[in-house]
Each structure stands twice: as C-alpha cells, then as structure tokens.
C-alpha cells in the first residue's frame, strides 16, 4: 500500500470542496481519476491534485508567484517519490533519518539517490520557513499533511521531539478543522519534555 492513494486524494478533494468523481488505481499502480475532467481520465497523484486545486475556489493555494508555484510542484513530486513509500516502518525511519541528517549536515550529499534529487528536505526546509514553500500555506502543506498523518500518528513523543521542525509545522497545519476532517488531532503537547 502506498500513501498517495485514493483515500488521500479523497481527503484533498473534500478539503477543496471539489467532487473527485470516480477514483481508482490504474493498471500502472497509481491513482487515477475517471470523471474529473470531461472525456478525459487523469492518471498520477500530482496531476490530479493540481487539477483539483484549479477546479476549486482556492486556486491561489498553488502559490502566489512563479517561484512558489514551482516549489509547490516540486514538493508534490517529492511526496510522490519519497513520502509515498513511507508506509512501512523501515522506510519511515529512513526518511526521518535523512531529514535529520540533512538538518545536521546541510551541505553534505546524502547517499540515498532518491533523496539527493531534492536538496531541500522537510525538516531542513521547515527549520527556516513556517510553511513548506515559505511564509504562506500552499497545497504542498495540505498534501503533505494528509500524506504524513499516519506517519506522525505512529511517532513516539521522543521521536516527535527529534523532528521538532516537522512536528511544529504539523501541529500548526492540523488546527484547521476543515483540513483535518475525521482524522485524529495528534498530540504534540509533550514535545518540550524531550527537547
């Protein structure tokens, strides 16, 4: 099972107030949408999310300028390529370890190829900025929230403290009830004990 799944797209479309139509997993094993666009079926997580945002009333959350928009797309790719497979414990540890590694050695290359593609890892990025792409919330934050929810849910307090920037960001993002929907509000109150 992957994280960028039908359920995740459903959550996003609910947040955006857009009916996603029929969602399914295509024979390429990626999420696809059948009725989102007329006479056209869409395949691929990032494409579907971008289409959903454009169809919604919140098209500005793709980013207000070209740089932010580019960053937003980059993060959508990041989610698909990396976070997507963080659904088993081994991969979670690897991702978080890489985040942490980047945090401590921001200038060194990470051995893992798939991560070196993205020079700005989550924890590092979030150390310096409030939201994923800068000072305002974009769809990258929304998508990462849904994609990471199950991961964050499984962390111990100590682990949350270890990835404090991710935790801080997540706690801020999850306060939006419309975003949270029926997902559990994750507790970060004990963070301070481990810092």
């Amino acid at each position: 099972m992957v994280l960028c799944n039908v359920k995740c797209v459903e959550n996003i479309s609910k947040y955006l107030n857009v009916a996603p139509g029929k969602l399914y997993v295509s024979k390429n094993n990626v999420v696809a949408a059948k009725d989102l666009l007329e006479k056209e079926s869409l395949e691929g997580f990032s494409t579907i999310v971008q289409t959903l945002v454009k169809l919604s009333k919140f098209s500005n959350i793709l980013g207000k300028d070209a740089v932010t928009q580019a960053l937003t797309r980059q993060w959508l790719e990041y989610v698909v390529l990396n976070v997507n497979y963080a659904d088993n414990l081994k991969n979670v540890k690897r991702i978080l370890k890489v985040f942490q590694f980047r945090l401590d050695n921001p200038n060194q290359n990470v051995i893992n190829m798939s991560f070196t593609l993205y020079s700005q890892e989550l924890n590092l990025i979030l150390r310096k900025s409030t939201y994923i792409t800068g000072t305002e919330k974009t769809v990258a934050d929304v998508v990462l929230y849904y994609a990471l929810h199950s991961i964050m849910q499984g962390l111990t307090h100590q682990e949350k403290a270890e990835y404090v920037n991710v935790s801080r960001w997540f706690d801020n993002i999850q306060q939006d009830e419309k975003l949270r929907q029926e997902l559990e509000l994750i507790n970060f109150n004990l963070l301070n004990l481990y810092l």
């Binding site: 900025s129 409030t130 800068g134 000072t135 305002e136 404090v164 706690d171 970060f188 301070n192």
Partner: protein, 426 residues
C-alpha cells in the same frame, strides 16, 4: 466594526501595529493626512484630545480617544487577533509587555546610538547587546515548537513583537548575528510577509550588514552609507534625498580634507569666539515659541542687534527636483538636524511653498556674526551649498516684510505658490 483616524508620523512601528491589525479585521483606519510631527501633536486641539501629545493616537469615528499603540491595535483588531480564549487573551497581553519592557529598551539602547539619535557609549551598547541576546534566546526557544507566539494562528502578540523587532532586523541582525535565532527569524519573516503586513509596510529587507558606529558620520550624515540613519533621525519620516549623489561627493571631499579635523574631538563652537551683543537669542526663541507672531515679530525687531547678528535669505537651488511635500519637509528638517550645533547662535524659519511636484524651499535665517556662518565649522557644511544665500539689510522695509512673512508662515514664494509647511530651527 471599529473605525476612526490614526495620528502618526510615517513609518512609525508603533502605528504599524494598529494598521496591520486593521488589515486583518477590515476595520476602517484612516491615517490623518495633514499630520506634521512635532506640530500637529503639540497643537492645543490635539492636546485637548490626547494630553500626552504622543503618537500614535486614535480618534474613533464616534469621537472617542485612544492612545498607546497596543490599546489602539486591540481596539481595531478582530476576535482571532485578540486571542480566542481567556488564556490566549492574557498571553497576548503578556507579549505586549514583553515587547515594550524587554525588547524595546534593549533594542533602542543598541540601535539608537548607531543611528545618532542617542550619544554613543560603548558600555551601554555592550549591555544592550547582552539584553538583546537574552530576549532573542527566550523568543527563539519559545518559537522552536511553535509557529506563532500564541495559539496556532497569528495574533496581536505576533504583530506587536514583530514590529518592535523592526529596528533590530533592519539595522543590526546581519546574517551571522541572526543565525543563532533561526526560529525567531523564521517567525519574523512569516509575520511580515503576510499580505496584511505587506499592505502596510511594503517589502521588508533584513539587514545585510550591521550598522557601524562612525563618529564622522554624525558630521556628514548625508553620505550614502548613512542614508538610513538620517531617515531615522528625522522624525522618522521617509526622505528621498534628491541631492544624494552630490552630497556624497561632497562627503568624500570632506573625508580627505578633514581627516585630521575629524580625528580630533570637535569641541569648539565657532559662535563661542564671537561677541554676544545685546540680542538674547534664547530669550527670543522662547518668546517666539510661546507667543503669537503678532507679538513675537515686533519683539524680534525690538531686541535685534544688527551689529552682532545678521539676517539671511536662503533659497534652495534645486526646487525643480522637489517632489512630494513630506519628502521636501524632511529635507528641511534633515538639514536642521545636521546643523544641530549651530542652534546655539542661530534661528531660522524655513518654508515650503506649493504642492507635490511644484514646490520651492526658502527660509529666513538669523545668526550671530556678519558672514556666512556655514564655512566656520566642518560640521555645518553638508547642506549649505544646496542653497543660495543672500544677506539682507535689517533696516530695509523689504527685509521687515520677509521676516514677517517667514516668521508667521504666510504669503507665497516669488512665483506665487502658496505657503504649505514651515519648520523652525531654534
């Protein structure tokens, strides 16, 4: 919904609190357009409403009065900004206090001497640096696990603390200095980059380089590097210096020629060596400030001592480069500020005639001695070359007429532009 008029000088970080809060809440806050710092707020009408004579001050549209920037911001804010629960409301007030009593004294003690607003004292600055470190460390650890100061959404606490940190981020906290406080910087940038803040303050640039204290700058504050400091010194208004490049050239010449002079402490005031005569300038200045021109102008002629004092007309040479009225006013008050040490033996009323993009500056000056005074001290030479100086004969009627016009801020310039604003050098 709250609405009313805010009295403030431009670029006042205290006024920003209310203006940014109003952007969030949609409150109708109008900035008083004709406000002149040091004049409007000293007028009787103003003091009746706001006895302290301080700004920002707020007049609600139904005629109630508020002072204190935090209170005004609170009044024009919305529920989210004020804090949603009793605890959050209390926390917002807690951060108001933190900003005013922890950050501001430390920040001012460090920044103001560098800007030339306060005397430079190494010990005081070292103290201030420690205090700033302390408050930034507190903020930094608070913001490690938090996005905003109170709760998970932006509140007045963020607005108030961020605006109070303006000077530090603008002049002091260069990249190496702000590195230990990454959480504070992240939060600060988030707060000031919200569209609501940008609508009020525009794009904010964090310091590239710490503002250095340079005693020479005080004498030549028009040099390019110190443009900002001048801006601050001048009732904190924004002057766009039209003569900047010229002034810079001049500053550089002075650098070479006066290196020796500047190295020595500037102690002697050229007025000290001149005979005082019978005209008590201080007495006249007091009289002028306290009395109507109908009394003070005759008083001037009664006391004036033509043997020891002279009257001059100074006309700005580059009137065609003047644009906005407030910028031209800053030009005048900037000159006054740079001539600070001349106040002892001089008095002037400089006036701006006309309107935006069509205005002239000229003034009547009175000083001890018979010759052009500016050449006597290297401190006084920054601006005077931008003016044509004409010595007036005190016994001529024409002079009497000019003195009357400029001292009472009336009439027009040579081309018939109406009087707009005046500044008194005293």
């Amino acid at each position: 919904m709250a609405s009313g008029t805010l009295y403030t000088y431009p670029e006042n970080f205290r006024a920003y609190k209310a203006l940014i809060a109003a952007q969030y809440s949609g409150a109708q806050v109008k900035v008083a357009e004709d406000f002149v710092f040091g004049e409007t707020n000293k007028s009787d009408a103003f003091l009746k409403k706001f006895p302290l004579g301080k700004v920002p001050a707020f007049e609600t549209s139904d005629g109630k009065y508020l002072t204190e920037s935090n209170a005004i911001a609170y009044y024009v804010a919305n529920e989210q900004l004020r804090g949603k629960t009793d605890l959050e409301k209390a926390e917002v007030i807690q951060w108001f206090g933190f900003a005013d009593s922890e950050i501001l004294p430390a920040s001012s003690a460090w920044v103001f001497p560098l800007l030339g607003i306060m005397p430079y004292n190494k010990q005081t600055i070292e103290h201030a640096k420690e205090d700033v470190k302390k408050v930034l460390t507190v903020l930094n650890s608070h913001l490690l696990t938090r996005t905003f100061l109170v709760g998970e959404r932006l509140t007045l606490a963020d607005i108030s603390v961020a605006t109070t940190l303006f000077h530090l981020y603008q002049y002091i906290l260069e990249p190496s200095l702000r590195k230990p406080y990454q959480n504070v910087t992240r939060w600060f940038q988030t707060v000031i980059n919200q569209p609501q803040s940008i609508a009020v303050i525009g794009a904010f640039k964090l310091a590239d380089k710490i503002l250095e204290y340079d005693p020479k700058k005080y004498a030549e504050p028009q040099g390019k590097s110190s443009k900002k400091e001048k801006k601050e010194k001048e009732s904190k208004k924004e002057p766009k210096e039209p003569k900047e490049s010229k002034a810079k050239e001049q500053a550089e010449e002075l650098d070479a020629a006066d290196a020796l002079l500047a190295a020595e402490p500037k102690s002697s005031n050229p007025f000290d060596s001149m005979p005082k005569g019978s005209f008590d300038l201080e007495d006249f200045k007091r009289f002028y400030s306290n009395e109507d021109e109908a009394k003070s102008i005759p008083y001037f002629w009664e006391k004036f001592d033509p043997a020891h004092y002279s009257i001059w007309l100074g006309e700005y040479k580059y009137n065609d480069e003047l644009t906005k009225v407030f910028m031209s006013c800053n030009l005048i008050s900037g000159m006054f500020q740079r001539l600070d040490k001349m106040r002892k033996g001089a008095f002037a009323s400089s006036c701006l005639f006309g309107t935006d993009n069509d205005s002239t500056i000229s003034g009547i000056w009175v000083w001890r001695g018979q010759d052009l005074v500016f050449t006597l001290s290297p401190d006084w030479q920054v601006d005077y070359e931008s003016y044509n100086w004409t010595k007036l004969n005190p016994s001529e009627d024409k002079t009497k007429e000019l003195v009357k016009q400029y001292f009472s801020w009336t009439g027009t310039d040579k081309e018939g532009r109406k009087f707009n604003q005046g500044k008194i050098f005293k």
